[in-house]
């Protein structure tokens, strides 16, 4: 049986969530592995959300915001953009593979792009296999 990764998606309300809705109204089919959590802006996404998702068993985390320059709040996505490399560095230190956590820009008119991003991300995380974070955490706790 192929491995079906569980991916948590954090989408900004104005561009990406609307883009994901557009994929729906356009009936563009894509992989069912990403479950979406809506936030007002990608700048709201606290790095702890990503860590929490990984600790709770997510195999991947997808963050989507408006394209640079198009943020509903003028520059929230730049804040996410700056925060993201720091988060990635931290994740790398913990041995979490690069493809598991991803930042993408999806506009309100890019239903197809959202579907493509989800499909691509699902494939990449599937190739990596299940995330070891949750299991490792359980082992650590047991040893303590």
């Amino acid at each position: 049986m192929t491995f079906e990764p569980k991916i948590v998606g954090f989408l900004c309300n104005w561009c990406s969530y609307t883009g994901a809705d557009l994929a729906g109204t356009s009936r563009i089919h894509y992989a069912p592995n990403v479950s979406v959590i809506r936030v007002m802006c990608s700048a709201r996404i606290d790095p702890t959300f990503v860590l929490k998702a990984l600790m709770d068993g997510a195999d991947g985390v997808l963050i989507c915001g408006c394209h640079p320059g198009d943020c509903h709040y003028s520059e929230g996505n730049y804040k996410m953009m700056r925060r993201f490399p720091l988060l990635k560095k931290l994740l790398a230190d913990y041995g979490i593979e690069d493809d598991r956590v991803r930042l993408e820009w999806v506009s309100a008119s890019e239903g197809q792009r959202f579907a493509d991003v989800v499909n691509d991300m699902t494939e990449r995380v599937r190739a990596l296999g299940p995330s070891p974070v949750k299991a490792d955490l359980a082992t650590d706790m047991a040893e303590r």
Partner: protein, 577 residues
């Protein structure tokens, strides 16, 4: 003592939109086992009156204090169900929606997988709603003054309706005159009314109206604030082109964007030879000839053969995929006008499909067909090719058409060719979108709040769009949108006060360390620093709830109402449960 949770979960079938892919009963069964859930029901259309009524009655009878509706996108019906909660007497923010239509049933085809995903989404919503807090909507003043950007037929109509109702309107156009694109046309289809007559009435009233401050040669530089309370900075160029530009800042409650369209650059479609063959002209250039009453070639000759080519830049995979909506009937108008100006002329109308959808347009098409116009059909993406004729051909140009009805390659003589150039979003529509904080679609048109139910509002409350800047449209539709926008705004002005979303950020003074990191981060300068207390503080009326400060606060002192860490954590746990 903490109130005991009593959650109602409602799963909408949406006819068959959800139910044909998602096993709603299985979702219900699963949700019934979640902590706090006392009732879980499906319904055919939850947004219908009986659907809402069911929720209202359950809230009252079962003493529910939280509600989950699993249905379409919250962007669609969140206000509907919030209202239902309010009707039932509980705080509207005790609602959470799970999007199992746009982001589930419509995008997945395996029922088992889609049902599993829906289960996760509804679980997330159920866990989240448990962490919801009651919130109070904010009441703010609604400034009666308004800003209308663009002085075409749409902008003038909106401005006049608003000004007639007693509001002060700032009408801004960057040109030195009113009228926009309509000022460039002669007669209008299908009744052959003069565009000039229509405009003159509007322009005279606009210029003379005591409530309209007309700002020509002007551009809106900045729009700040929020619905009911915008501040717009407008810069005007001096009339004589000399001297310093004058800048003023005005307070307005709403903004109507009526910036129209630009025409497709015919030179981009090289097969027509526009710019190289002197007698290939665009529809707007032809309108100018008609206005001046002189339909003649560049050489000053009366054309014997006139050809009209449809869909230049429209309905093509190379340029714009959409239909520009006005060109077909305008082309029919040209055929009639050429016939009446030059009775001996041969007119050929080279089209892809004849889109004569508007009121009176089909009759107009029939009359055009009877006027001995030669209609030739070509296939989309197999556009005709125009070349210069040989001297022996007795005409200026030859048009090669692969005619689809006869299936033959036909050559048409022409002395003048009119290219029906389509409409496109203005090259700087992106700048306008930034200015007023609205979105554009893939073709550059401004996006409306809802394509059918809310066609003139946008995702930014208080910013409205009307006319050709939203999508290609004719004069009646543009005017209808202008008046619709005006009616929407006047309705809100009539209410006096304005209710805005209760969602904003709050700082807990006890946790704030006064580091001021959030102060600089806020795009709306909504966070002030209290020098005495050495604490930061959110000015809630200015906060637009992006949450940038919340994620950045090193002390965790800032809470994003309705998007708290706790609520989002609950959602994460739910989708991964």
């Amino acid at each position: 003592m903490e109130e005991q949770l009593r959650i109602g979960v409602y799963v909408c079938n949406c006819g068959t939109n959800i139910a044909k892919i998602v096993d709603c009963d299985a979702v219900i069964e699963h949700c019934s086992t979640l902590p706090g859930v006392v009732v879980a029901r499906p319904y055919k259309y939850m947004c219908s009156n009986p659907g809402q009524q069911m929720i209202v009655e359950d809230i009252k009878e079962q003493k529910l204090n939280r509600v989950v509706v699993a249905a379409c996108s919250p962007r669609m019906h969140e206000p509907t169900f919030r209202k239902a909660l309010q009707t039932a007497g509980i705080n509207p923010y005790f609602l959470e929606m799970a999007n199992i239509r746009e982001q589930c049933s419509w995008v997945h085809d395996d029922p088992a997988v889609a049902t599993a995903k829906a289960r996760g989404l509804v679980t997330a919503a159920t866990l989240r709603v448990a962490a919801h807090e009651p919130l109070e909507r904010r009441s703010v003043d609604m400034c009666k003054d308004l800003l209308v950007i663009g002085g075409g037929i749409t902008g003038m109509t909106a401005a006049l309706d608003l000004a007639d109702a007693g509001s002060k309107v700032y009408l801004v156009d960057r040109d030195d005159h009113l009228g926009g694109n309509v000022a460039r046309i002669d007669l209008t289809a299908p009744y052959l009314d003069s565009a000039r007559d229509m405009l003159t009435e509007r322009m005279t009233r606009t210029v003379e109206h005591a409530n309209i401050e007309l700002l020509l040669n002007s551009e809106v530089e900045k729009v700040e604030g929020f619905v009911g309370n915008f501040k717009a900075t407008i810069t005007g160029r001096p009339d004589d082109g000399k001297g310093e530009p004058a800048t003023q800042t005005v307070d307005v409650g709403s903004v109507v964007v009526c910036t129209g369209f630009q025409e497709f650059d015919a030179g981009r479609a090289t097969n027509y030879g526009y710019g190289k063959l002197p007698n290939v002209v665009t529809s707007f250039e032809f309108e100018k000839m008609l206005t001046e009453g002189r339909v003649e070639t560049k050489e000053g000759k009366i054309p014997e053969y006139v050809a009209i080519v449809h869909c230049v830049g429209s309905r093509s995979t190379e340029f714009h995929p959409y239909c520009s909506r006005v060109c077909c009937v305008t082309a029919l108008k040209y055929a009639q006008e050429v016939k009446s100006a030059i009775p001996t002329a041969y007119v050929s109308d080279i089209y892809v499909d004849m889109h004569a959808f508007g009121k009176g347009h089909e009759d107009f098409y029939r009359r055009g067909s009877e006027a001995k116009t030669l209609f030739l059909m070509y296939a989309k993406n197999d556009s005709p090719v125009i070349r210069k004729a040989d001297p022996k051909d007795d005409c200026e140009m030859l048009i090669e058409v692969n005619e689809t009805l006869s299936g033959e390659a036909i050559e048409i003589p022409a002395d003048m060719v009119v290219l029906m150039v389509g409409m496109e979003a203005r090259a700087d529509s992106g700048d306008m979108a930034h200015l007023v904080n609205i979105s554009r679609d893939k073709d550059g048109w401004f996006i409306e709040s809802h394509p059918k139910l809310d066609p003139v509002a946008t995702t930014t409350d208080g910013i409205y769009i009307a006319g050709g800047c939203q999508a290609p449209k004719d004069i009646p539709d543009s005017v209808a949108q202008a008046r619709a926008a005006a009616a929407r705004i006047l309705g809100r002005i009539a209410k006096g006060k304005l209710e805005i979303d209760a969602v904003y950020a709050v700082i807990d003074e006890d946790f704030c360390s006064g580091c001021r990191m959030c102060n600089e981060l806020c795009p709306y300068s909504a966070i002030e620093y209290d020098d005495e207390k050495k604490r930061s503080n959110v000015i809630s009326a200015l906060c637009k709830a992006c949450g940038a400060c919340v994620a950045a606060c090193p002390s965790g002192a800032i809470k994003a109402l309705h998007f708290t860490d706790q609520q989002i954590f609950a959602e994460i746990e739910g989708v991964l449960a």
